[in-house]
């Protein structure tokens, strides 16, 4: 699991453009890795999401938005994005939005989660 705090510590040397629009930031961050989880370090449901992916043998990249200086904006944008009960956890796979924890659970039960993970290259076998 890789934790990213703030917007600057990416492993890829990007030109440090200040993308103020939270939605753009989210899209950028989501596209950067195969499995991305927007989380809150104090949120227990986020812990559930992280544990689930670990149990599948996947290493998700986690953004703790409570440790981001503009976490509030991110939170509002995430809520707008999937219209769920809580902004976090929100999961992206292969840059595409999977959704909040209930969508993740539903897609795991119906078998589509593993397929998405394989397509994004996060899982082999």
């Amino acid at each position: 699991m890789h934790y990213q705090t703030g917007s600057g510590s990416c492993k890829v040397p990007l030109k440090r453009s200040v993308a103020t629009d939270p939605m753009e930031r989210i899209e950028r961050m989501a596209a950067a890795h195969a499995v991305v989880i927007f989380s809150d370090s104090t949120c227990c449901m986020c812990h559930t999401a992280k544990r689930l992916f670990c149990s599948l043998g996947v290493s998700p990249v986690v953004y703790e938005i409570d440790q981001d200086p503009r976490g509030e904006d991110l939170s509002k944008a995430l809520l707008r994005l999937h219209g769920g009960a809580a902004p976090v956890p929100t999961v992206f796979i292969g840059g595409k939005l999977v959704g909040a924890i209930d969508s993740v659970m539903a897609s795991h039960i119906n078998g589509s989660l593993v397929r998405l993970l394989k397509e994004a290259g996060a899982l082999w076998l």
Partner: protein, 468 residues
Amino acid sequence: MASHRVGEPAALSDSGAPHHHHHHIPYAVPYMLHHPTNSNFINQEGPAFDFGELEEAIILQGVKINNDDKKQHLYTAIRPAATLDMFPSWPMRFHQHTTRGSSKSGEESTDSGSAVNTLSNTPESPSDHRQPPPPPPQMDAAGGIDSPRMSGSQSQPPAKPAPEKTLRRLAQNREAARKSRLRKKAYVQQLESSRIRLAQLEQDLQRARSQGLFLGGGGAASGSISSGGAIFDMEYSRWLDDDHRHISELRTALQAHLSDGDLRVIVDGYIAHYDEVFSLKGAAAKSDVFHLITGMWTTPAERCFLWMGGFRPSDLIKMLIPQLDPLTEQQFMGICSLQHSSQQAEEALSQGLDQLQQSLVDTIANGSVNDSMHHMAIALGKLANLEGFVRQADNLRQQTLHQLHRLLTIRQAARCFLVIGEYYGRLRALSSLWASRPRESMIAEDNSCQTTSDLQMVQASQNQFSNF
């Protein structure tokens, strides 16, 4: 449809085994207990007791019944539920027969003894009706039957029966027997639903009682069920009644071999029925999550297996797999994979809940005297997350049921949901039986009455389990 379970005529003339018939009472619970190893949960139709057939057999084979004892046994053998004396289709004549001519031989059952009447070929029977005739061992049972009646119609001394009349009477008997069977079935179904309602009432009563005690003893503020919890309990009990109805519908649909299209409608209805309970639980989680998560809305046996406010989906699938045979290879793989995914999701949710509990413990333990209100506020905030976990657990349950529906053919799905419904029905029945079992503490403690108490206990338990 000659019911092979009807005591063969030869058996009737033996001294008894009237207890045979207890096997045939079509109550759900005794049926289950009689077939514990039967892996097929689908309840067969209760055996039909065909009186028309019985009478034919008796007439045609000439059962020899010529003493009181055997008559007594016959009486109980033919009436399948001797304790349930409430089938108005039984003619009063029958009772009169047993009280009159006590030494008369074989007074038979069924609605019409007149058919037997016509077969009588003993001319002396009309004159014998007042005195006990010396029963000749070779005497046809038919000869002793209904001879009192014959005295009333002396204008027609029937020498030989007209075959057409006999056949007509036999047909009438069959018809009457059929009607009687249907009435009995309806009555038993009523009994079953009342039993379920009774179980719910008992549960509510116990809960109220225990909370009443709590109020009296502890004097704590709120011992009663919250309004949210009470509302949910009411709605849930209505849902249980619906469930019972759906199960019966599934069962009859499967036995009637309806078309796939018709079955689909019923199965979809059952899925919608479960969707409904999850939505009810969702509303209840908002108003009183503790009521759900402590399982106070379920029966004790269900509570035993409670996971996050309901059943554990992977356990349900584990139970289902052997019941769903035969499955194709692909279906089997799909269901195993479903079980595996469910286990992973359950594990993740459990770990999340553990973290919540740990965090709560830390907050409550670390509150200083000065800071206590602040810490309480934080703790309250964390508690609010419980609702999310119960909701996700219910979501998992709902998704699992939907996926099962997707993996199976329509007929398999119907059987699958029937099994599920019956399984939880039995758990609930188990709870109510357990609650009403005789307990030693309720018997007087006086040592001198020990034997009587023991007797009472044994008797009580016998009465309790006499159906089994």
